[in-house]
Symmetry: C2
Subunit: 416 residues, 2 copies
């Protein structure tokens, strides 16, 4: 057992018990002071960040990776904005959801309370520290951050600023803890601390998520890959289908809510697919089609069985032509990752059927899957996007950092 | 890998995808037919149950255990009642929770949907099969039952009747599956079937729960022990405090929501404790006190450190006298099991403080902890009582067998 890591767990738990006593004004004031401190410490943040960038270049990290790692003035402005956005959100802690009178006079209700201590394991982007701390402080949770080695200087710098702000605001500094040790053993240690951590959130690649699921004794909220589909129904408007599919694939192909497979009803395929291909060709999208698709788009590559369960995160798209909406839904439920899936249709019955039967965190009618996002859904900042069904599906915002306990008011009731 | 168990997972998943398409009438009709089948097969149920009872007697199981195992006509009536109770409950599936207009015209809402497939691992009481199947069918979930070896004949008999009812109603029989194999390996197999099971619920002793937590790759809803407290505040009415503490300890000491530790403010202890002891003595409750308590109740046993974290499930009570309400809250949060805890007080501020700061699934003001129960809280039947904070705290009813997915209605919106 690593005593240092355990101590951080104890600290965060004790701090969370203090945070729960605070009203919203006090928590918002702390967030505002943290924003001030970030603004006042721009040079320190950038100089620590340069250490990570230089280390990354030496290690030969990709340009995309180094870009995510960089903290420039624009990104620092972004972190300050997130703090202000979270200040503007309604505080969910203490919200009472219904209060029913029982026949014996008991009043039984539910009250939203913090989950307790959140452990978050994340890779690359150091601004995650600020987004996560803003959400956990406002929701009165303690948090233990465990970032990757590539961003360790940046993460430590940002955490020290958060702690400075908490202290200035009179809140416990230990509400936000960071684990300096970046080896796998420190993650394993966290995953066994069920006495001090209530929920583990892994944000990163599939390998990290599998490791966490296999080693955690603590409930995990999985933030997994996005194998997202758009189904072009036989009753779709072709112009709308083209613009939605184009947006879902091309607008930002490297993210989890981008489309990876397009499903097309065979009745609309002959008129839709050739026009769609012209647009995808312009954008340089590589198409891979099933047999039926290839009777219309003869020149495209074959889609293999593996394609249906691949998250490309790139300008590649697999296409399947289906005979019925049921075949489309079945394909999505079998090969998808229960993330975000859309139907394009003008038919009411098919729209409702898709909504009900597709087993995904976000189901769209006539819109791009790219909208699955805390901000776009009106939640403000987010902890990530959940692929699992327990507790939260889709964007995990401030409210999802709480759960409801029962509260019961009596005047001496006894069980008979 | 055990192919038979995996096949049951596949079956239950496929069945759940069928159930989600059904309206409430069809699901209720199936529950009603199952109730008919139970009534028509009383002799079969009792004759299979006798095999378990005889086996149990041979193995020398305790009288209390054999009592829980027995299925007599009264218990069979109880199972029929539960089916009718669940029919009367509002169907949560498809309920739309809010639908907000976004600035770009998207309508973003949430819709309650089944969790998918529930795996439940339980001990002794065979009527759990009926309660669980009623709840999972109504909430359109598949379920895989894994009961203990002592009740295997009864569990198989009840499951065969459920399947018969499902078939008669035209629903997939495989919506309710049971694992016949009662060794630990079959549990381990279930716990790795993350492709087919969405949630695991262990109901049983601490050892079973630890085994499940340590081996599961699937999210677990822990139904753990109940170390429940009643805190008698300095501003408590003494008569009410006596009746509430007596009820919480004595009315049914063998259950999870019974009181195990009584906390008493030192200002009220001299007038409260001697009168309370008279009542507990009449009921044969063994008292164990801290040092301060023993200055008032000299004759009681010493409470050891271990007593504070023991679930007696018996007529034994540990008593601690505290100097402040903060000391009481701190004791509960440190030694309790986050289940059910009560304050007796006439002081508004202390009541609200207790409600906010005690980190338990159910917090009571001026009522017995014995009320933590699905029926008493107005939920109807329950899957069990959750001790964890993710997804559900306290009684897990029909609604908690669903979670909310996002639904989005557009008219061609694209992300910019």
């Amino acid at each position: 057992m690593n005593e240092l890591i355990i101590q951080k767990g104890k600290n965060a738990l004790a701090a969370s018990r203090q945070l729960v006593k605070l009203n919203t004004e006090k928590k918002d004031r702390a967030l505002s002071i943290i924003a001030e401190e970030i603004d006042a410490n721009r040079e320190f943040i950038k100089s620590e960040n340069i250490k990570d960038l230089q280390g990354g270049k030496k290690k030969g990290l990709t340009k995309a990776f180094l870009d995510r790692l960089e903290l420039n003035d624009k990104r620092i402005d972004g972190m300050i904005k997130i703090l202000n956005d979270v200040i503007a959100l309604k505080d969910p802690v203490g919200e009472i959801i219904g209060m029913n009178n029982m026949p014996n006079g008991l009043k039984v209700g539910q009250m939203r309370m913090p989950l307790g201590v959140i452990g978050i394991i994340f890779e690359s982007r150091p601004n995650v520290c600020i987004e996560v701390a803003a959400l956990t402080i406002k929701s009165a949770n303690g948090v233990i951050l465990r970032g990757g080695s590539d961003a360790i200087h940046s993460n430590l710098a940002l955490t020290s600023i958060i702690k400075k702000g908490l202290k200035r605001a009179g809140l416990p500094e230990t509400a936000v803890e960071i684990i300096e040790n970046t080896n796998r053993e420190s993650v394993k240690e966290m995953l066994r601390m069920r006495e001090y951590i209530d929920v583990i959130i892994p944000r990163g690649g599939l390998e990290l998520i599998r490791f966490v699921e296999e080693n955690s004794l603590i409930p995990v909220i999985r933030h997994d890959q996005g194998i997202c589909h758009t189904y072009v129904d036989e009753f779709a408007g072709i112009d709308m289908a083209i613009s939605i599919c184009y947006n879902a694939k091309v607008q930002r192909p490297g993210v989890c809510n981008a489309m990876e497979t397009m499903l097309v009803h065979e009745k609309i395929a002959p008129s839709f697919l050739p026009r769609m291909k012209i647009e995808f060709d312009k954008a340089g999208v590589e198409l891979r089609g099933c047999k039926k698709t290839k009777t219309i788009l003869r020149s495209v590559k074959d889609a293999t069985q593996e394609d249906w369960s691949t998250e490309y995160l790139d300008l590649i798209l697999s296409i399947k032509t289906v005979a019925t909406i049921d075949e489309a839904i079945d394909h999505i439920n079998t090969y998808g990752s229960h993330h975000s899936d859309a139907i394009v249709t003008d038919n009411f019955k098919n729209g409702m059927k898709f909504l009900t039967e597709v087993d995904s965190a976000a189901c769209f009618i006539n819109a791009s899957t790219r909208f699955t996002d805390g901000n776009e859904f009106g939640l403000g900042a987010e902890m990530g996007i959940s692929n699992q069904k327990l507790h939260v599906r889709g964007p995990m915002g401030l409210r999802e950092l709480t759960s409801a306990k029962y509260i019961v008011f009596g005047d001496g009731q006894l069980r008979v």
